[in-house]
Amino acid sequence: MSTATNSSVQTVNGFSTSIDKIPVLSYGHFQQKADEYNKRPGAHCVTYYACAVDNGYQFFACFADDETHELEIVSHQLINKKAELLALTKEVPSFHGYEREMAENFGIKFLWHPWPKPLRFPHDATHGLKISQYPFYRIDSEDLHEVGVGPIHAGVIEPGHFRFICNGETVLHLEIQLGWQHRGIEKLMLNKPNLLQKNILAESITGDTAIGHGLAFAQLMEGLAGIEVSGRLELERSIALELERIAVHTGDLSAMCTDVAYQFGSSVFGALRTPIVNYTQSWCGNRFGKGLIRVSGSYYPFNDVLKSRLLALLDEFIERFETIADRTFDLDSVFRRFDDIGTITEKQVRQFGGVGMVARMAGIKRDVRWSHPSSGYKQVPYEPEVLTTGDVMARALLRRREIEKSIDYLRDLIHKWDDVKEIELEKPRRSIKLQSNAFNLSMTEGWRGEICHSAITDKNGDIINYKIKDPSFHNWMGLGLALRDLEISDFPINNKSFDLSYCGHDL
């Protein structure tokens, strides 16, 4: 356990810190810190979790200030495993998921938690409840009715359960129950001995973000092993991440057209996604980029042939994309189904700790590529797009803007790549030695938003704790809030406009 006396340690995305250097605060002091960050406009809590040590727990939290680009790590301890803590969720609502997770995984009691419910029903949950025993919020009224949807949905999508409390057609409350996809990934990260197994697990956290999570994993391991990767590899990783973003955003615009019955737009955007994922496949053999991100090197170096093909593809893509996007956003029938539907406010997003697209469509400039850049984003600065209306329209329009921006940005990355393409790329490492008693945290901005992987090593350099945070962990609350006072028939378009991850949440 730590003996540090200073009250704060600053870190940099992807660089490990010795556990001994992380200050251990009293719970009261920690509470103050959480409160202070919660009140600071540009700040949020990136991760907060418990790690079992000796006869108790050490809790690690990382707070980010997006504007000053600072990352602060603090911790606090519980010596007695039976002890209880006062829940911070009442004052800092974005802590609700963190505290529910720790209660579920370790049996830690968070007193006065306003929403003390299971989160994902892991196989070894301490509450012993089955997923069918979730305690839904209820209203005893003969005037209201409930609608339950899922876990299996109408389309070819992942499972989750949605419980609506309605007054006629109007939704008063939506509760989202997740956990159906739980595969025990964080435990497998500890149990699978070799690096390749962990790498493949990271790519499978959510397969639609194989690059985003793969990269968060690789950076985390490289930081813990003290490996510095070449500027060329960094740029190639960012190229891959932006391609992933363009592909999924385009597919999402297709799906949003489907949900407002604009079949033409649905087909055309759908067809436009294909050349992007096929390009990724022609680079690394997989349409989702699985196999491309490996620790410290790459089996698939970017080259001049790939470069000229990509530049040609981007030119062709943007021309076709702009015509269909102009048409879609011009259509009255689309406008009426997007505009002022499912609005959430900046204040709400700050309260639930929204990240990524969900923050940026509601007036919050929050983007890891800009605030805490790693890989190619350190070399080529990125300036985020921010919209303010917080409705379905903002979520659709932000996708359009981000696609346009990513295409320009890709051209800049490629330009920069030309300067360093002579650097020889390493082959991926098969095993690495990690620093002992270290803490590391790695963030990437996947297409959904802020991904955070964090690990702690013991005195032998073995990983004793692996924590994954997909942006959906925060953002699901946004969908629940967006549905309030909407007609229940507006659910599909809202759900699609958020397009959150079930498996990324459930792990």
Binding site: H123, E158, Q181, G207, V268, G270, A271, G285, K290
Partner: protein, 249 residues
């Protein structure tokens, strides 16, 4: 209207004319070829992250393989992944690729159940259930119906209700939390019905094989009609596999 015409003109024909003959360019990782050169079989075996490789003789089980391709990078003179995407089969043994073999993976018409033979040839409605899937297989199954792959041309479609379906397509390693819902869904499909596993996670558990968070007991009770390997399975693997199955005589 004019802008729609312009868009149509810009896009041209998007569909793949002949799904049966379509090819995927390299470096797509489809059917691996293992030659008979001598290597340290145990080293090769220990290299595989999911235990898909066996030694003496060397073989790769495509039902376990996550197609990372790392074995081929480590042993380039022994293993090569080809772009042959037709790797779906109706028996588990057919997915095991042995050293020295250059045979494609084929569906065995004799093993197709009599009660399903021939009856779904013109129309097949499927219910998809993701049970711990990572959303890549789900997206590829969704892509099977898009304007490029357009499996609707063969009368194959995903439907919302199991009551309207002729079978279920499972993705994911079957999480404990979804096992009950999957069972209820499968039971709700009228007989005769198909049971299809799409993706390595569904076929064997893939990288999640030893996770205590899985419940794969449904596989003990029902015969699997089609295994579609891949991580995720490519739309061409899925569509061709299904066509082989429903058109077998």
């Amino acid at each position: 209207m004019l802008s729609e015409l312009k868009i149509l003109d810009q896009h041209g024909k998007q569909f793949i004319p002949d799904i049966r003959k379509a090819e995927i360019p390299m470096p797509f990782r489809g059917l691996p070829i293992i030659n008979e050169s001598t290597v340290d079989g145990n080293e090769l075996k220990s290299f595989c992250p999911v235990g898909a490789i066996s030694a003496e003789p060397v073989s790769i089980d495509l039902g376990k393989c996550v197609f990372c391709g790392d074995c081929a990078h480590a042993f380039p003179n022994k293993i090569k992944f080809t772009n042959d995407h037709k790797i779906a089969a109706n028996t588990r043994e057919a997915l095991i690729v042995k050293e020295g073999s250059d045979q494609p993976i084929q569906l065995n018409p004799d093993k197709v159940r009599e009660e399903i033979k021939g009856i779904f040839g013109g129309s097949l409605k499927l219910r998809q259930v993701s049970a711990g899937g990572d959303n890549s297989a789900e997206m590829e199954l969704g892509a099977c119906g898009n304007v490029n792959f357009d499996m609707g041309r063969f009368g194959i479609e995903f439907v919302a209700s199991p009551r309207h379906a002729d079978g279920v397509v499972v993705t994911g390693p079957i999480s404990k939390n979804m096992a009950g819902a999957l069972r209820i869904c499968f039971d709700a499909i009228p007989e005769p019905k198909l049971f299809i596993l799409a993706g390595t996670d569904a076929i064997s558990g893939g990288i999640f094989t030893d996770s205590p968070a899985l419940d794969r007991s449904i596989l003990d009770k029902h015969k699997v009609d089609l295994y579609v390997p891949g991580n995720p399975p490519h739309p061409l693997t899925f569509v061709n596999g299904i066509l082989d199955l429903i058109r077998s005589k």
